[in-house]
């Protein structure tokens, strides 16, 4: 199952520590909040993305299955 990044926007406080770990997947807006590139995460990007998830001091980032929001 393909995975995607999920942001808990209430937890995210814009520390901006995620983007430097996986710049090809996570960009930042002018206030330091992440902008996730649309689409699935490629196999070779997974390591960086996992580091980005671990870098968040608020634990606001997680890797979830692609259909996460659609499951009830």
């Amino acid at each position: 199952m393909d995975q995607k990044l999920r942001i808990d926007w209430i937890l995210c406080d814009g520390y901006s520590l995620c983007s430097p770990e996986a710049p090809e997947v996570i960009d930042l807006d002018e206030w330091g909040y992440p902008i996730i590139r649309p689409g699935v995460i490629a196999e070779h990007e997974l390591k960086d993305v996992k580091r980005a998830v671990g870098a968040c001091p608020m634990s606001a980032l997680s890797l979830v299955p692609q259909d996460f929001d659609k499951r009830s």
């Binding site: 808990d8 926007w9 209430i10 937890l11 995210c12 406080d13 814009g14 902008i35 996460f68 009830s72």
Partner: protein, 416 residues
């Protein structure tokens, strides 16, 4: 067959003079409530009726009840009748509760029966004083049926207080702010129980469909969407207020009946503050039909139709609304808090004739950047509204940005 423009179903009965219909009059007119167990399958009837939720999102009512009724586990559920109506220009929910409170109670009782709920919460905007009084008095009259399972909770002020997760959060914790989903409120809501949050108009229609059936409901409706709906006509219109219309009626028909004229209208905001600006010309022939509106990139939303007079500036009107929506952010999610604030500030500067360089480009960039980046859909609604403003008032925005003057009024400042 075309029904009268003001087709009265929910609003049939005594005049809308500010006094609520008492229970004795309600049952004399409509009969006592038929309960689900005692008659044909109400959920099936709601599904067949095609009734859509009237809180704004337009989700099918029957499907929503079915999903809750067929839930796993034996936990009892909760029904929340949502009458927060935080949308400032909308008046249909407060009007309904203030005049026909027993239809709302009927609908909540039916929902509780249908989905297996042991608690009912009437969630009413505290600023809707007449509606609060009417609901309290009606609940007292229905004490024998409601018993101890029902209570009224006064919703806090604010645009987001009526959003389903904010409703549940407020009832649970006193904090009227949206929560991250999942879990959905249908899985874990009030008191962690599965919860049906349903707009009061939707519940009131369910109470009529329970009595008269889905075929009766579908007798109205000129096009794809069947039935009737409450709308609020507002802005540049003589007889502003709440109307009950047959779906498929065009905006122009209702607006003219209410004293508006196309040539005196610049544009219409359709669907609410999260809605879509539409030129008067396009709006006038637009059927007020959720399916037809969706096909045109519009949303029926909460049924708000706000007419901007031809003498007014769309940039200025847009600035007032985006300023309101930026202030209405629950301030929990950065992209909404900062993005909407920046959008509002740039729009206000343009409207006021004091544009900073690049303001228009900033607005164009922030619209797609802000969409989809929040726990709830507040930022999505706000940027959708802004995108429609650029579509309809694009030349005016450019004129404001280039000259610092208003293209409609000729003044600097854009105020009429």
């Amino acid at each position: 067959m075309t029904l009268p423009l003001d087709t009265r179903r929910l609003l049939a009965g005594p005049a809308l003079d500010g006094t609520p219909e008492r229970y004795a009059a309600h049952i004399a007119r409509l009969g006592v409530l038929p309960l689900v167990g005692g008659r044909a399958d109400l959920i099936g009837s709601l599904e067949a009726s095609g009734l859509l939720g009237r809180g704004g999102a337009g989700f099918a009512v029957g499907r929503k009840w079915r999903a809750l009724a067929s839930r796993d586990g034996k936990d009892s559920a909760v029904v929340v009748a949502n009458g927060a109506e935080g949308e400032p220009a909308s008046h249909k929910d407060r009007t309904l509760m203030a005049h026909r409170p027993h239809l709302v109670i009927d609908g909540a009782l039916l929902a509780a029966e249908a989905i297996g709920a042991s608690e009912i919460v009437f969630y009413v905007g505290r600023e809707h004083v007449a509606a609060v009084a009417a609901m309290k008095a009606a609940m007292a009259e229905r004490k024998p049926e409601l018993g101890k399972r029902a209570k009224i909770v006064l919703a806090p002020l604010g645009y987001v207080a009526g959003e389903a997760t904010a409703v549940v959060n407020y009832i649970n914790t006193g904090k009227g702010k949206p929560m991250t989903v999942p879990p959905r409120v249908s899985q874990r809501g009030v008191g962690k129980k599965p919860t049906l949050v349903q707009n009061v108009e939707s519940l009131a229609y369910a109470a009529l469909i329970a009595r008269y059936g889905d075929a009766w409901y579908r007798m109205a409706g000129r096009l794809g969407s069947k039935g009737t709906a409450l709308i609020t006509l507002s802005g540049a219109v003589r007889d502003a207020g709440v109307w009950e219309i047959e779906l498929g009626t065009t905006l122009g028909e209702v607006a003219e009946e209410a004293g508006a004229r196309e040539d005196r209208t610049a544009a219409v905001l359709m669907g609410g503050y999260f809605g879509t600006w539409t030129t008067a010309r396009d709006a006038w022939t637009m059927p007020l039909d959720p399916a037809a509106m969706k096909a045109s990139g519009l949303a029926f939303g909460c049924g708000l139709l706000w007419l901007l007079p031809a003498s007014a500036c769309g940039v200025h009107a847009t600035a007032q609304i985006i300023e309101y929506l930026a202030d209405a952010s629950a301030a929990q999610c950065g992209p909404c808090l900062f993005g909407l604030r920046a959008l509002a500030d740039a729009t206000v500067r343009l409207a006021a004739g004091q544009p900073a360089s690049g303001d228009l480009q900033l607005i164009e960039r922030l619209i797609p950047q802000t969409a989809g980046r929040g726990a709830c859909h507040h930022p999505d609604g706000a940027v959708g509204f802004m995108a429609s403003a650029l579509n309809v008032f694009g030349e005016d925005f450019e004129h404001h940005a280039r000259t610092g003057r208003c293209s409609v009024t000729g003044t600097s400042g854009g105020v009429r």
